[in-house]
Symmetry: C2
Subunit: 410 residues, 2 copies
């Protein structure tokens, strides 16, 4: 029988009623002739609530213990769903990450999957059971419980789909798919039928929260088609898959907004080899991930250097920067939390160099100043003032005709 993996997010299993709805859908897939493997997140805000309790006890909870704590939410959701599926006369059994054979390294809180050994899952499927697996968690090679980081259940789903050679991995969420822009910001945003892995990676990196970045990487590496769809409707969602050569590439797939970053500027940095390495090694040692980096041309052997980091990491960054400024002999540094990053993503961009200029022009026409720019072959990102962010998304969306009109040819 073909295997299908279905992953349900926290909202989809938020209460017993929602769990019953999911159970109906699972049974339906089984009746359609699939071997069904279901991956569940924790119910609603359970994980946040558990984390808050840990914080109440310690500002820096022991990572091994925090992982053990946070995995309780998925255990609750998976066994309730297994109870619901069994109650419908359809045999089902639930498995923790450990029981499902999700083997990870020992980096608690951000573990990486190093192997998938789905022996028990295959046995249960062979016995005709629906298999339900706790997302977000695994077991380390030293037999400790680990978690895969925020949104890790997506990765669990994709990893199981790859190991079981599933037809696809369905990701059920509270939105209907991947959109040309956040519909809450741009009401004319359209649902995309299909995006490539590369586009989805750029969208995720640019702030689109539909899928965890790592899960898309994992899917691309293993050729697992992902179907992002809503658990509240039966409508098809968005397929994330390889480029389909037979279909002409859309120029642009969407506009993404990341409003959770901050900008840091080092002033009058001596411009000689090794300086950038010193700076970003120090930042990396604090496990703070840097997104955009922009260095201007130097004047009289000095240059300004700006980069963006998650806003939440700003307090931790301050100590690092004080040391860095002294080490490299810079004049000083400033931070700016009032920014947002607006990105345009599209695989067709590769062969249309005018896209970048069009985007800058769309912002200029709206009187929006661009503070930083970075590009890849299929993405352009601009840092703007936070208060301009929504207008920027709307202007770009309109300019490229993403609402389905033909505005791009204007």
């Amino acid at each position: 029988m073909p295997v299908i993996v279905q992953k349900y997010g926290g909202t989809s299993v938020g209460d017993p009623d929602r769990i019953n709805v999911v159970a109906d859908r699972v049974v339906r897939a089984r009746e359609e002739g699939y071997d069904v493997v279901v991956v569940v997140s924790a119910m609603g805000d359970t994980t946040d609530e558990l984390f808050a309790m840990a914080q109440e006890i310690s500002a820096a909870p022991e990572p091994r213990e925090l992982d053990m704590l946070l995995t309780a939410g998925e255990r609750i959701a998976m066994s309730l769903l297994a109870i619901a599926v069994n109650a419908r006369g359809c045999k089902a059994a639930s498995y923790t990450g450990s029981q499902a054979g999700i083997i990870t390294d020992s980096k608690h809180g951000q573990a990486k999957i190093v192997d998938v050994r789905p022996g028990r899952i295959r046995e249960a499927l062979a016995e005709g059971k629906v298999v339900i697996v706790a997302g977000f968690q695994g077991v380390s090679t030293t037999a400790d419980v680990t978690t895969l980081g925020r949104g890790g259940s997506d990765t669990t789903g994709v990893a199981l789909a790859a190991a079981l050679e599933a037809e696809c991995c369905e990701i059920y969420t509270d939105v209907e798919g991947v959109f040309t822009a956040d519909p809450r910001i741009e009401s004319s945003a359209r649902k995309l039928e299909r995006v490539t892995y590369d586009e989805m990676l750029e969208l995720a990196a640019a702030g689109a929260k539909v899928l965890q970045l790592r899960s898309v990487e994992y899917a691309r590496r293993n050729g697992v088609p992902i179907h992002v769809r809503s658990s509240f409707t039966d409508e098809p969602g968005t397929w994330v898959a390889e480029e389909d050569e037979s279909v002409e590439q859309a120029l642009i797939s969407g506009v993404a907004l990341d409003d959770e970053e901050a900008k840091v500027t080092l002033e009058e940095v001596p411009d000689h080899p090794g300086v950038a390495a010193t700076i970003f090694k120090a930042v990396a040692e604090e496990a703070i991930s840097v997104d955009m980096i922009v260095q201007n041309v130097s004047h009289r052997g000095k240059t300004d250097l700006s980069f963006t980091v998650p806003r939440a990491d700003l307090p931790r960054l301050t100590g690092v920067m004080d040391r860095v400024v002294a080490d490299i002999g810079a004049h000083g540094y400033s931070t700016d939390a009032g920014i947002a990053k607006v990105s345009l993503v599209g695989a067709g961009m590769k062969s249309h160099p005018e896209v970048k200029a069009d985007m800058f022009d769309a912002l200029a026409t709206e009187g929006i100043n661009i503070e930083m720019i970075s590009t890849s072959s299929i993405r352009v990102s601009c840092v703007v003032r936070a208060e301009d962010a929504h207008r920027a998304v709307q202007a770009i969306h309109r300019r490229f005709g993403l609402d389905g009109s033909d505005a791009v040819s204007e």
Copy 2:
């Protein structure tokens, strides 16, 4: 280093503040020179809440899945406590029942421990860590998660104490120890310094809820001293241990009340061999446990037969009794949920036959009618009307001078 096992109940770890108080106590035991193994229950009413969610989804939840669900509570409590102990600079690691080597049979919901393999616990202790273990749960020989039944954390604690040859198992609870009667019913009830395993077994069977019956059996079989005490004070509680020959046996240790039973009476049962077997085999097949059984002498080949069962099992019993009445040719049956069982327990009773008569007299003096009687060598139990139960406890407590006065000699 000597090993001590400390078990904390749900109230003791009911919220982050209480968990911090427990962590202080754990660190203190460590500083006193013990290797400390801590067993925790789920926080407050977590287990009941999880059970209620399962019931919302299915009236008869799949037992394997229900066990997986219910074990989440202990996981949360143990990792929070481990975070709290680590935050005090004292290394600690938490382990699920499975990781701790609590091996059980496969009877979900009421699994029995068949082996304890505390390899990882010994390793962690050798590394100088405080070990925290999830109570109430184990792993079956087929690698499924199981639970040990209500109050099973006590058994986890005693089983680990036995396997690790601990000095004792401390059971921390929300009462100060074992009392001569429930202090909420009889305000002059005294805390007992010491009771024997046999007395504690009788008290537990008679309705005292301080310790799970199975944990006391396990402790007696393995000679593990239990110290029942409050997590809210530093006062010593009650020791449950072997009879101490050097100390003169107290006549009576206490009065217990069980107000969760119901009485069933089969009327005009044909009095010939095999009838009782037929009845109680049918009841046992429904996994309903029978407590007292009383059969009167027969008249003209017929007799009435009464027994008590947990009141909660009464609905399930009805179907059984309809069949039994037909099978054995009885006249009919009646049920009575308005009863209570009052028991007097004391090892010294063995050599003082007058105790039984004194108890009946105490009830008679209060005008309380006795509906059923059953006795063991160290216990007398009487079934009375539920509304007389508290007065019965008080009368017996007073008659035997359990408040410390000498009323017994009146």
